[in-house]
Amino acid sequence: MQIICVSRGSFGYGNELAVKLAQKLGYDCIARETLTDGATDRGIPVGKIESAVLKRHPITEALALQMELMKAFICEQICGRALEKSVVYHGRTGHLVLPGISHVLRIRAIANDEERIKMTLRRMPNLTREKAKRYNDQVDEDRRRWVRTLYNADWEDPSLYDVTINFLNMTAENSASALVSIAQLPEFKATPASMQAVQDRLLASRCRLAIGRDDRTREIGVTVKADHGNVAVTYLPRQSKEAAFIPEVLGKIDGIQSIVCTVATTNILYIQESFDPDAPSLEQVIQVAEKWNASIELIRLLEGKGAAAPEAVTAPAAASSGRAADGGILDDASPALSHEGHPDGVAKTFDKLIQVGRANTVRTIPGGAQKLLSSLNRSEQNSLVVVGDVFLAREMSVRKRMRRDLISFLADHLKIPVISTEDLKGQYLFGTKQWLHMALCAVATVAVYLAVFYNQEAVLQFTSAPGTGRRVLSAALVALFVPIVAWIYGSFSHYVLKLIKLE
């Protein structure tokens, strides 16, 4: 079943385009408003969320929970319908609702300013032209804010869309006709594997909604992910008591193969092409996760088109777990697969993460940096990206360069530190270099303190001496001395706390 998402602005013919496209293709058409009404009926305060975001109210924990429920509800509705029949969804964030599903066609509908002003005036005849323009600008600004708050993305970022339709020279009717052809391209056709991804999203959304609906767990802020029926739930340490009910709450939901609950305040993305449970780099990532109380998400990055869809390589899990073997296109060069459907190393690594209580989820993404970026949910709470061995088929020097480029690319686009496994120890763990640095900082700190306190009189005489020249000199030295001491002593205290794992 196909999914087409139309992202529209105000009075930009987006609705019209979506309706005509759905008619031409014979698909169901879902408007955002229908879903938000449904969410309101289910007790999610959509109006309050909109008001808070648009009126720039700071988002409280309670409101953030409701926001997550709203997103889960919208996702559940679209995925639920899309499993039965192809759908066209239109709303402000259509392109962001289902990240990482390969067959979603993401369309942006735009109209030129003059046309929008005319439409605004037609609908609100009391406005002046200037006010209509200002009104449209304000609506656009509100939409930008909405998208940034809910999905941490830029509404106007062209890389988030597959097609942009400009109504300046095309009618909605003709645009819809053109889009029919695009929708029939093989790139936007559902594969069994991409449908599995839709099923997983549906399951994750249902789990999220169930947790939010149950009186015992409704106040827990959780992240829920699903992979072939294996559900991963992460929650904050302070919510451990309430989280004890999560398995019971989720037990009522059909389609769950297993549940992994991890207590974590944040998440680390660990990207490699293949994983080894005994690798020293994995130990280091676990050490960092333990210090930060983070969960670890394993991302297996496969270069090129070895697998046609991100979900493809993990597809055999369905067969092995007793459900219909609905296929997926496998990479010819895929290593041996374990009983859990992942290559043996990945499955064992994930098991190890479960044993140490740091497991989040595991995913396979083919296609390089851009594909990886588009599959990441940017509104998730990630604190660090660790890039290990990737592009293994390449020659060593090329591999190094490509990995460096990947790190730079991710660092440019994600607002979190991105680091290689080699640099991980130096920056986040404690080694010889850190001991040496800490000792140097300690010696320098002691020297500075002794110098000042053994010469109190001279220091105070110098800093409070009369005369403009002396005062200027004293001020300049204070301004120089203070940041240096702060840096030296700050580094020392940072290392001490790092040593006792209090970061």
Partner: protein, 370 residues
């Protein structure tokens, strides 16, 4: 030594040094926990130890300069700093600090040093009580609204009110994602600078100003405030150092406690509910306000505005000290409690995992594995 120390610098004893370090530690912990300030505890704390008001403010603002440099670097890594907003506020912030320093210099300059010191102390205390009472009461009101389910967070009445005027030029701050009139930003910068220079608690004005007046999110407000504090701190340090008011010994002692405390406080924010953070903050500020309030009769008596037996002064001073330490110790104890609780919770989970309880199985899983 006494010749230099005179009435301006105190004689440093082990007891005073340890108490200043303690103030720095608690202040740093509060600063890390509630995202700003710490000075509201440190400045009056030093004054209670006998440090003259303007030296306490000068030493604290100089210490803040170094602390903000370290803190803002960390926030910048997390994308919480709107440099444009900070720079705009820093411009008028510098003027505000200059104005504050000039006013205090004016007050302490005339007459004898004892009287000048009492005048400055009274002035600082009054500004402190008025401004921070308003801040803490607003916070408590917001907390009550949130708890009763009537509010979705801090009030945005001011943001909504100011947006009606559309005072041009309007500046768009991309990281903070707000559009604010240049004049509003400059005025808030001036007020923040002035209060930072007067009571050394710019953060407690700057952060709420960004949240309540500009509509900035709490994390970006804290990050941008720290970035701004670098400039305000640097300018304040330069200004006060030029006037010969900075006591480098106090700065170093404050550093020795605060740079540890700030990390522990920041860790606490990860394990405590947001509403508790706001509640602890409001409680601490209110106790600090009471502490300053109790001392006002002493200053009034010293200046001859209040006919009171001077033998009562030590009692007022003692009560003030007790309240101040109560606020800091209560706040510090709460934060340490949360941090330790989280630490033991982590250990418990680790222990349950290493004793062989698997957290993965088919279907519902038992409580022990969660």
């Amino acid at each position: 030594m006494n010749e230099i120390l005179g009435h301006q610098f105190i004689e440093m004893t082990w007891s005073i040094a340890l108490q200043v370090m303690f103030l720095g530690f608690i202040g740093g912990m509060l600063s890390g926990f509630i995202g700003s300030g710490g000075a509201f505890f440190m400045t009056p704390g030093m004054m209670n130890l006998g440090v003259v008001g303007n030296v306490a403010v000068a030493s604290n603002i100089t210490h803040k300069f170094g602390k903000a440099l370290i803190g803002s670097r960390k926030h910048a890594e997390l994308g919480n700093v709107d440099k444009k907003l900070s720079v705009f506020m820093a411009i008028t912030g510098a003027i505000g600090i200059q104005l504050a320093a000039w006013l205090m210099d004016l007050m302490s300059g005339g007459g004898d040093a004892q009287e000048g010191g009492a005048g400055v102390d009274l002035y600082i205390s009054i500004v402190f009580v008025v401004v921070l009472s308003m801040v803490s009461l607003s916070m408590l009101k917001d907390i009550m609204n949130t708890r009763s389910g009537n509010g979705s967070g801090p009030s945005t009445k001011i943001v909504d009110f100011l947006s009606r005027f559309n005072l041009h030029p309007i500046i768009h701050f991309q990281v903070a994602d707000v559009r604010v009139s240049l004049w509003v930003v400059l005025f808030c910068g001036l007020a923040t600078g002035y209060l930072a220079g007067t009571i050394g608690v710019g953060g407690f004005i700057g952060v709420p100003a960004m949240i309540y007046v500009f509509g900035v999110s709490a994390s970006v407000a804290a990050g941008s405030e720290l970035f701004l504090a670098q400039f305000n701190g640097a300018f304040g340090a330069l200004t006060y150092a030029f006037k010969g008011m900075v006591d480098l010994r106090l700065v170093l002692l404050l550093f020795s406690g605060s740079l540890f405390g700030i990390y522990i406080g920041a860790y606490g924010t990860k394990v405590v509910k947001e509403i508790f953070i706001r509640m602890v903050t409001a409680l601490i500020i209110l106790l600090c306000v009471l502490s300053r309030l109790v001392n006002i009769p002493t200053y009034l008596q010293q200046l001859g505005y209040l006919d009171m037996d001077p033998s009562y002064n030590p009692y007022f001073n003692l009560a003030s000290k007790a309240l101040l330490y109560a606020s800091g110790i209560t706040g510090g104890a709460l934060i340490l409690f949360f941090v330790l609780k989280a630490y033991f919770q982590r250990r418990k989970i680790q222990t349950s995992l290493t004793t062989g309880v698997s957290s993965k199985q088919s279907g519902p899983i038992p409580e022990s594995s969660v």
